[in-house]
């Protein structure tokens, strides 16, 4: 409940900021036309009203356990940062950041190994073997057969490695 309330309040605060921000950054519109700022502002007004109602309902429905929920928030936050879910999120974000600079092959291999391990695969040989096979299948399926552009990487030795692997795959 506490988490939900905080998210609602954050969206509310951001919406109010956007309302004034868009009003101050857009050119002034004529009295008989719908300007560039009025459409987003109209959306924000409905959004703010709905958020206020949602926050009111949250507080009303959870009056009894509100204190306990906020007390638990600290330990819940610590548990979240230790959870598989947070590590999963972190792995996905890291993968997205290294996808272009490191290149598809190494990123895919490392991602499959790390996420597979996170999801409970503890046999190292199995994990590495399946990851290598899937990387090859994805590479051949998309880059070779379908001509989809996959990044080779911006770091020179990784790029050379990708080019070397590509040279091993017959072209169609």
């Amino acid at each position: 409940m506490a988490f939900e309330l905080i998210i609602n309040l954050l969206i509310l605060g951001f919406s109010i900021f956007c309302f004034f921000y868009v009003g101050s950054t857009m050119p002034k519109s004529a009295v008989n036309e719908l300007g560039a700022e009025q459409w987003p502002q109209a959306i924000i007004i409905i959004l703010v009203l709905a958020l206020c109602w949602n926050i009111f309902k949250l507080i009303r429905d959870h009056k009894a356990d509100m204190g306990a929920s906020f007390k638990k928030l600290g330990s819940d936050t610590v548990n979240f940062f230790k959870s598989k879910l947070f590590i999963g999120m972190l792995i996905v974000v890291i993968m997205s950041l290294m996808y272009e600079p490191v290149g598809f092959m190494v990123t895919c291999l490392l991602f499959l190994i790390s996420y597979g391990y996170l999801l409970g695969e503890r046999r190292p040989l199995n994990l590495i073997l399946t990851s290598v096979i899937i990387t090859i299948i994805l590479y051949i399926g998309f880059a070779v057969l379908l001509g989809v552009l996959l990044p080779r990487g911006q770091i020179s030795f990784l790029r050379n490695f990708a080019l070397f692997v590509e040279s091993l795959v017959p072209t169609f």
């Binding site: 950054t25 719908l34 879910l85 996905v92 499959l112």
Partner: protein, 504 residues
């Protein structure tokens, strides 16, 4: 006839026919895998379309979509886990049949009904789309705004238990659609001074993030265990077709649900899930033996399966004739076409009628191939599901990443996908509605640009006078009244019901 011939010519090109067969196999497989919805199946199919032209791309994606809805019924029958949300009602009767050792018959009935529903909807699409297009050609910006707003009017019906949260989600989607260059003035809006946001929020990476990455994160958080029942343990599972007598016993059920499913599919925002639930409850209500529903009867499988497949064809009608997606999957197909430089809207079928004919032919062929494909897949399916999620989950994310990157070949889209996946999880945790958010994001730009054009054209000294001029146009006025009723009805319905029960 000419349309049909040209459509079949596209689909029966050897390379395309091969791709349709691949799409059907992929779609059935994706749909059958729990956690991979029909929308996600279409999303995962997008990278395959990058090397295709626009017509081939829609043919491929439509085949995946149709097959995924059918594939979803398999897990519903065998595992009591609907592969796609629209297969949820199939579990009510499919699973009890599987428990009785009649999994083969249940699967056979599911396949036949899915195919009949899909083909019926494809025929309706072929007949209805040109008429709608002709009508839409006389529409101006005001009417086009009203039609796109109709898509948004379904917001309150998406999740009637959480109307407020669904509205918040829809508004967040609409606000996200405002980011980037203003559609009329061309000035950067809500970009906060960053150049990354100047071109706006790219739809495909956001959708991929919301549907694929969020789903894998959900499975990481709470993994679901799968266990097959019925005659699967012997490894001799087959999707034997029901006898002619058995099929004839449900012929009216299939016909009624195909009609209802197609109509629901046509409504913007409503999709296969609503269609299957509605068809199931409708058939239960009008059945002479309603007590049999839920215990493992053929009608209970025929109703949702013909309904949800019919909705797939229905969803293509507004997409092709008006440029308004009928659901999430249609929204993704629309994004894929826009990416190919196709301008969606009423002029699409006038200038390029091959889109309609190719889509129809694809649905026709896909629904026939699907029966054969599903029989084969059903036999190997139990083994495929043995793939541990530690392999399947990361592979899904990698395929999603390839799809996001290939949109514009920039890493920004991959980062956007990852962030959307994380935000999607937060949204689901806070009981917001990600479908509503996507609906807002897709329809936002169409709604805004048409409404603002309508104001520019309308005579009026003030904003109010211009508004009255817009609403006084007959088509706009009628559609807006329908929209207001559609928006308010889910809110007012429980209040009216409460008052009635108090009165008694």
């Amino acid at each position: 006839m000419e349309l049909l011939t040209s459509g079949l010519a596209v689909v029966f090109r050897p390379s395309m026919l091969f791709m349709v067969v691949v799409a059907v196999f992929l779609g059935t497989l994706f749909g059958a895998l729990p956690g991979v919805s029909g929308t996600m199946a279409v999303t995962l199919g997008i990278p395959f379309t990058y090397s295709m032209n626009a017509v081939d791309a829609i043919v491929f994606l439509v085949a995946i979509y149709c097959a995924s809805i059918t594939g979803g019924g398999m897990t519903a029958i065998l595992f009591k886990i609907p592969g796609v949300p629209s297969s949820a009602p199939t579990t009510y009767d499919g699973y009890p049949m599987a428990q009785r050792g009649e999994a083969g018959k249940a699967l056979g009935m599911q396949l036949i009904c899915s195919a009949v529903g899909g083909i019926f909807a494809a025929l309706c699409m072929l007949l209805l789309s040109p008429q709608l297009t002709q009508a839409a050609l006389s529409f101006g910006p005001a009417e086009l705004f009203a039609i796109s707003f109709m898509g948004l009017s379904i917001l309150t019906s998406l999740d009637t238990d959480n109307i407020c949260r669904t509205i918040i989600s829809g508004m967040l989607g609409l606000l996200m659609a405002c980011i980037g260059l203003d559609p009329l003035l061309g000035v950067p809006r809500l970009t906060f001074g960053t150049r990354f946001l100047t071109s706006g929020i790219e739809m495909i990476p956001v959708m991929i993030g919301f549907f694929a990455v969020t789903e894998v994160l959900k499975q990481t958080y709470k993994p679901a265990k799968l266990k097959a029942v019925g005659d699967t343990s012997s490894g001799k599972l087959s999707a034997e077709l029901p006898s002619l007598k058995e099929f004839l016993s449900v012929k009216w059920v299939v016909l009624r649900c195909s009609v209802v499913g197609t109509l629901i599919g046509i409504l913007p925002g409503a999709g296969a899930t609503i269609a299957s639930f509605l068809c199931y409850s409708m058939e239960q209500k009008i059945s002479k033996t309603p007590e049999k529903f839920g215990t493992g009867c053929l009608e209970g499988i025929a109703a949702p399966e013909s309904g949800n497949n019919a909705a797939t064809g229905g969803a293509m009608v507004p997409l092709l004739s008006l440029g308004i997606p009928g659901g999430n999957a249609a929204a993704i197909m629309m994004s894929a076409l826009v990416l190919k430089g196709v301008t969606m809207g009423p002029l699409l079928l006038v200038n390029q009628p091959q889109f309609l004919s190719a889509t129809f032919a694809s649905m026709l062929v896909a629904n026939i191939v699907m029966v054969i494909a599903a029989v084969i897949i059903a036999k190997i399916f139990v083994k495929v599901l043995a793939i541990p999620y530690s392999v399947l989950g990361p592979t899904i994310i990698m395929m999603a990443t390839i799809g996001a990157y290939a949109t514009k070949n920039t890493a920004v889209d991959v980062i956007l996908m990852a962030i959307s996946g994380v935000i999607g999880f937060v949204i689901v945790t806070c009981k917001f509605n990600s479908s509503a958010l996507i609906l807002g994001l897709v329809l936002g730009v169409i709604c805004e640009s048409n409404l603002r054009r309508a104001y520019t054209i309308a005579d009026g000294d003030t904003l109010l006078a211009a508004t009255m001029n817009i609403l006084s146009r007959p088509v706009t006025g009628v559609i807006m009244v329908i929209c207001v009723i559609a928006l308010l009805w889910p809110v007012l319905k429980p209040i009216i019901a409460k008052k009635k029960s108090e009165g008694k």
